[in-house]
């Protein structure tokens, strides 16, 4: 229970992963560290910079930070305007308030005009815990993926988040970066050199089944792979950190080589990673699939580990899903 005691979860323990930073913390540090190299970066906040960690950047670069108050619609359109003057506008809020509250502003002021706005949604998923469902972004990946021109990234740990932040700043055009609140295990150690937008990373090889995951469910997938190994099943685990554009090649290869795919994500059942992977599989090389996700419901207040257990986002459920396909 070391992870839970440190404010994180017990994810990754079976796989022997060390607990690391929360992805939101990694984001704040990474953005600050890029400030000199990319002088056009500015941040636009809706008064939750100490939660999203944009404040780490804002403290170092106060003249490049805007806080419009609790007004996400205005926040996103202001970011669009800044981007139209040549700025790389990083605008952040809780995933639900950014994506859900300001969706039309993202459509009209960012995606449609293809502006260089970096949307960052923290506190995604149900693992935020005690604050409860009104604060949980569980529709955001679906909403973000529905928008033309927008790159959608869901990194799994601190190192890949830092790599994702650099990638999003270097990318010309709109991006959405999904971040979590709790500390999460380190998948990649200190750095993630293989990170490339649209190119997944196979974090464990195996030929019997493929588990495609992102966010903190990559840790759960690695835990599950360990259990499956004990049962004689070799699972491939793919970190699908970019949901759009999706890495079709890796999915097709997995379908052909392993014949079964489980998708695990901290998101609603409809419209997230599972739906995107299923489209590719059905178009190319149909195989049986199963899904581990939040389902079609809102969660509740509680401790992060308890919530992940109750709503089924566990290694045990991934193992069950794999076994259901291998029967």
């Amino acid at each position: 229970m070391a992870g839970a005691a440190a404010g994180g979860t017990t994810l990754g323990e079976k796989a022997g992963l060390k607990m690391g930073q929360a992805t939101r913390d990694a984001f704040g540090d990474a953005l600050r560290d890029l400030g000199d190299e990319f002088p056009e970066i500015v941040t636009v906040d809706g008064d939750v910079g100490n939660s999203t960690r944009t404040e780490v950047f804002a403290k170092k670069y106060p003249n490049r930070a805007v806080n419009v108050g609790i007004a996400e619609s205005n926040m996103v359109s202001v970011a669009g305007g800044l981007a139209s003057t040549g700025k790389t506008a990083v605008t952040a809020s809780f995933a639900c308030f950014l994506m859900n509250n300001a969706f039309d502003q993202i459509r009209m002021s960012v995606a449609f005009p293809k502006l260089n706005v970096k949307l960052v949604g923290s506190h995604a998923g149900i693992s935020i815990g005690e604050d409860g469902p009104s604060q949980m972004g569980i529709e955001d990946v679906s909403l973000a993926c529905s928008l033309p021109n927008v790159v959608v990234m869901v990194p799994s740990d601190a190192a890949s988040t830092k790599a994702a932040v650099r990638a999003m700043i270097e990318h010309k055009g709109p991006t959405y970066l999904r971040l979590g609140r709790p500390k999460v295990p380190m998948i990649y150690g200190d750095s993630c050199k293989d990170f490339k937008i649209g190119k997944s990373i196979t974090v464990r090889d195996g030929g019997d089944v493929t588990i495609i995951a992102n966010g903190l469910m990559v840790s759960a997938a690695l835990d599950a792979a360990k259990d499956l190994e004990d049962a004689g099943i070799q699972a491939r685990v793919i970190d699908m950190h970019t949901v759009k554009p999706i890495d079709r090649d890796a999915i097709v290869k997995a379908a052909k080589e392993t014949g079964a795919i489980v998708v695990a994500e901290e998101h609603l059942h409809h419209g997230g990673l599972g739906s995107v992977v299923a489209q590719v599989v059905s178009e190319t090389h149909p195989v049986r699939m199963a899904y581990v996700d939040v389902g079609d419901c809102y969660a509740e207040s509680g401790d992060p580990d308890g919530l992940l257990q109750k709503y089924g986002l566990t290694a045990e459920n991934i193992v069950k899903a794999v076994k259901s396909l291998k029967k």
Partner: protein, 280 residues
């Protein structure tokens, strides 16, 4: 070539407004769709901005860093913007005759991704002032002397986001931002008084800390004077409540048709002839 502001005298400005009105009628009648009456109410302001010595532009280099910007938040009135830009030399009057046709960059609402010189993609009401505020902040961070003019409709002021932007602009004291409310008194389903009465815009915006002027926005002399006064304010954002008439310039036609709103309707070829006769 560097950016510069074209400055016509009052009589020439009035003639220019007439020419722009004729283009509005021509292109919307040719398209057989669009919002001519919403464009006509705003014509004096748009004409003054482009030709009254206010907006520094380079039609041959529409993205010049030092340019001033005009964001048409009431995007459905884009015929007035296309017409003014054509008169200014961004493209030709012949070009904009393809308004709203398949393949044309002169779309039914402004699309900055397809047409250089368009400063914001609008058409979902309420977002233009926020977008303009972002631009005003961006050029100020880069110490570029550039002014951002945003035009909203009076019906559009029902969108809460506009008031979020009004509050934030006051916080940042963006004196390089001017909001012009084209108060033509009508919105889609009726008069603004009937639908949602926000008509005392002056005191409301003033209460947020802005510099506010209320003028007859179809009087070219008043428009020029107000824009000059706004430019002299250096410590806060400025607002011009531009009281206008929807369809100004061809009101006898609208009166004859017994529809002073005439929202989102082009004139028939026959009515267009009558309208153009009033603008000769």
């Amino acid at each position: 070539m560097a950016v510069s502001a074209k400055k016509l005298g009052l009589d020439e400005l009035k003639d220019k407004a007439k020419a722009i009105r004729r283009h509005i009628i021509d292109i919307t009648t040719e398209a057989a769709s669009g919002h001519p009456s919403s464009s006509l109410s705003a014509t004096e302001v748009v004409t003054a901005l482009f030709f009254g010595g206010f907006m520094k532009l380079d039609p041959k280099n529409p993205t010049a860093k030092e340019r001033d910007r005009f964001v048409l938040s009431k995007g459905h009135a884009v015929p007035v913007l296309y017409a003014a830009m054509a008169e200014a030399g961004f493209f030709s009057v012949k070009d904009i005759m393809s308004l709203r046709k398949l393949g044309s960059v002169y779309e039914g609402h402004p699309n900055m991704a397809r047409l250089p010189g368009i400063e914001a993609s609008t058409g979902s009401l309420g977002q233009g002032l926020s977008f303009g505020l972002g631009q005003a902040l961006g050029v100020r961070m880069d110490k570029i002397d550039s002014h951002v003019y945003v035009m909203t409709g009076d019906g559009e002021m029902g969108e809460g986001q506009v008031w979020e932007a009004i509050a934030a602009a006051e916080k940042y004291k963006t004196s390089n931002l001017t909001l012009i409310i084209d108060q033509n008194g009508y919105q889609q389903t009726g008069s603004t008084k009937e639908v949602l009465d926000l008509t005392a815009f002056g005191p409301k915006v003033e209460a947020f800390g802005w510099h506010v002027q209320t003028i007859n926005g179809n009087d070219m002399g008043e428009v020029v004077k107000a824009l000059e006064a706004a430019r002299k304010i250096t410590d806060r954002p400025t607002c011009i409540v531009s009281q206008t008439k929807k369809g100004f310039g061809i009101l006898p036609v609208l009166e004859k048709e017994k529809d002073l709103n005439y929202h989102g309707k082009p004139l028939s070829k026959k009515l267009a002839e009558e309208a153009l006769a009033l603008l000769s």
